[in-house]
């Protein structure tokens, strides 16, 4: 009997506290800074081209083989605007297969791919989440604006400049 009463006291006391539930579709939990959503490609707005060179390192190390990348010669490099000799021609990530592990971000040497905060990507058809270069860059730009993203290697360079 005593145990029951104790339990009742606990439930009674919870009447006094504020509700903790987030009413999901209407109300969102705040997303943490480090949250890993689906990987997206970054846009270099200084030169207006993607960071990605299509080197395919991420494609090789992706555990689910959900990405493809094709490389081409960079026309902007010929004009002397860009330092990148090669640039991505087409890129595809199948978000239906991606397990959001973050390995692609770890292996990329060009800061070209980043885990975005994108996570609500339900679609009606099975292949609607095969995202091509345009969509990935669009999502990437959204992420860059949201988080004020800076490339890591460039950040290092500017630090060195500041210290020297």
């Amino acid at each position: 009997m005593l145990g029951n009463l104790k339990g009742l006291l606990v439930t009674l006391s919870s009447m006094l506290r504020k509700p903790v539930t987030y009413q999901y579709p209407k109300e969102h939990k705040p997303i943490e800074n480090r949250y890993m959503g689906f990987p997206v490609l970054m846009w270099d707005s200084q030169i207006s081209e993607p960071y990605c060179t299509g080197c395919m390192v991420c494609v090789r190390y992706c555990p689910t083989q959900c990405m493809t990348a094709v490389m081409k010669d960079n026309p902007l490099h010929a004009e002397g605007v860009s330092k990148r000799r090669k640039i991505v021609d087409s890129f595809e990530i199948n978000f239906g297969r991606c397990i959001v592990c973050g390995i692609c971000v770890d292996v990329c040497n060009f800061d070209a791919i980043e885990m975005s905060h994108e996570h609500e990507l339900s679609k009606y058809a099975r292949n609607d989440n095969r995202s091509d270069l345009t969509r990935l860059l669009e999502m990437g730009r959204k992420y860059q604006e949201e988080t004020d993203w800076k490339p890591k290697t460039n950040a290092k360079e500017s630090e060195e400049e500041a210290s020297s």
């Binding site: 009997m1 104790k6 190390y61 592990c101 973050g102």
Partner: protein, 373 residues
Amino acid sequence: MVDQDINKKLDTVQMMVNMGPQHPSTHGVFRMVLAVDGERIVDVEPHIGYLHRGSEKLCEGEIYVQIVTLFDRLDYLSNLNNEMVFCRAVEKLMELEIPERAEYIRVILCELNRVASHLLFIGTFGLDVGAMTPSMYMFRDREKIQSMFEAVTGARMMHNYIRIGGIKNDVPDDFIHRMKSLIVELKKGLEEADKLLSFNEIFLARTKNIGTMSAKMAIEYGVSGPSLRASGVPIDIRKDHPYSIYDRFDFGIPIGEIGDCWDRYYVRLEEVRQSISIMEQALYQLPDGDTITPTRFLLRPPKGEVYVRGENPRGEIGVYMISDGTDKPYRVKVRPPSFCNLMTIKDLLIDTYVADAVVILGSLDIVLGEVDR
């Protein structure tokens, strides 16, 4: 004629009842075929394998860094513990030194994962015996832990955070502060669970002296973890064969008396208290420094074999790995705690009632992802 029929003794036949694979209380896709005589269970035939993904075989085709993601998905309620045991296996093979800070963060996160797993157990076990409220309370507290994981590792469940040689990146700046307030909240939540459920008369009537597992039986079946300790055998790998830095902490091993469902429940509840104490000590001692020993991405550990084990929330997890010197392991064998604990189900269920079957199965706290692999 008619009289004769009436006088003829009625036969009783056993009835076969299918429990699962989609039964809500089997905690996954597990099927039991029960032969029941009235309310009494006469025979049980467990069927496993509905969640088989061939993880061990998949490991042979992936490089070492990718396998961590597979280990995340073995026991999806204690991902960090699984990651840790695999990384320790590779590190032992390569004789890699781990930075102090990484070890501490690993231990803190693993204990946090243990707390989350046990809280979920308390909630769902309450649900199994028919109490709705505890599951709501426990999910509320577990949610806070998940948010903490999200802030540290970036993912709520499949973290891929513990890497070979250390951890992926350092914890955020406000980690210690947030952990401290989280621990306070967890303690409060745990006391609520204790008051709400542990000594509730209905709960006691449903779990006391049900599904008793003797110490002898538990050892013979190779049961490990809280289910073994509930039978009164104080074996805990963290204490008996300390790995990582567990020998630096002062914690107790809660044991049960007779090994019934209530003991298995209460041992887990006590274990949460011990885990919280470990976390507090680790947070207090947390040193500064590096968080990863840099290794090549395409690891090629030397030829050899290792067996490494660790204490999961569900028991002893072991990884036996053979490396042939290439970038992929030759063979990875997992010794899953849930599988070995589940094997007792036949002995435990026979001669109990159908209504208790759910309670006994729930008290073993299995995760089918790990049973079937």
